[in-house]
């Protein structure tokens, strides 16, 4: 088939099917509202008070693929009074869950570190539950120069 003729036919078909134009695939992104939903799904509806837990993140990280994070809770970590669990959430990653650390009186100290991925500059939230059932939270903002999660694999 002659080239011009082929293009003409293809153009006609494409227009007919409404396929002209560029198709973009939008990656999934959580929102602050979804993060709140996720927090509630994990800890229930009880009141969460800011305090006791401290979330340490660098204010600026060059690459969002490995952001060092430390959570510390002000607690004597005794049998009577200790941290049961610390959850971490994000606002704008494709999904809001990050990690849950299960502690207990044998930990000695409520301090855990890891490295996380951040898909955008955003807030990160830590929620901890103490042995008496109370819930406490902290949040930190991180500026990310190069985002994680959404770059193409090879």
């Amino acid at each position: 088939m002659e080239r011009r003729a082929f293009l003409k036919v293809a153009g006609g078909v494409a227009a007919g099917l409404g396929l002209t134009g560029i198709v973009t695939v939008k990656p999934a992104r959580a929102t602050p509202a979804e993060m709140q939903e996720a927090i509630r799904a994990v800890v229930g509806s009880a009141r969460i008070t800011p305090g006791k837990v401290k979330l340490e993140l660098p204010p600026l990280i060059e690459n969002g693929n490995a952001v060092p994070l430390t959570v510390t809770v002000d607690s004597p970590m005794t049998e009577a009074e200790h941290v049961r669990v610390v959850h971490v959430f994000t606002e704008k990653n494709p999904q809001p869950y990050v990690v849950s650390f299960h502690l207990g009186p044998r930990a000695g100290r409520a301090r855990v570190s890891t490295r996380m991925r951040l898909a955008d500059s955003q807030n990160v939230v830590a929620v901890c539950q103490l042995s008496d059932g109370s819930l406490w939270s902290d949040s930190a903002a991180v500026v990310v120069t190069l985002a994680a999660c959404l770059e193409d694999g090879i």
Partner: protein, 106 residues
């Protein structure tokens, strides 16, 4: 062929709080990345990490895709008695790695 790097002080005094550092090689594929032709690369992550001390669980973590590749976790435990610290990582596609470290408590 996963390797794990574990750092535990070999000896401690009874009642002392010891810091344990763990690093395991794993790609932690999020399930959100796509190939150059647009196909989704399936999720493949470690989902759970458990540390036991002479058989009793003393720490655990539930991991999600937001944990970086080659997961690094630092936590602490009280040196109660001499024995073995056991570490287990499990995840997608039947991933399972177990490592141990001895600790002498004076």
């Amino acid at each position: 062929m996963a390797s794990a790097l574990i750092n535990v002080p070999p000896r401690a005094k009874r009642g002392e709080i010891v810091e344990i550092k763990t690093l395991i090689s794993h790609v932690m594929e999020t399930g959100f990345r796509r190939t150059q032709v647009g196909a989704v690369i399936p999720r493949n992550i470690i989902r759970r990490f458990v540390c036991s001390y002479n058989g009793a669980e003393v720490f655990s973590a539930d991991l999600h895709p937001a944990i970086s590749a080659n997961p690094f976790i630092v936590f602490s435990t009280i040196a109660t008695e001499s024995g073995t610290l056991a570490f287990e990582w499990t995840g997608d596609n039947g991933f399972s790695v177990k490592e141990t470290a001895a600790i002498t408590v004076e």
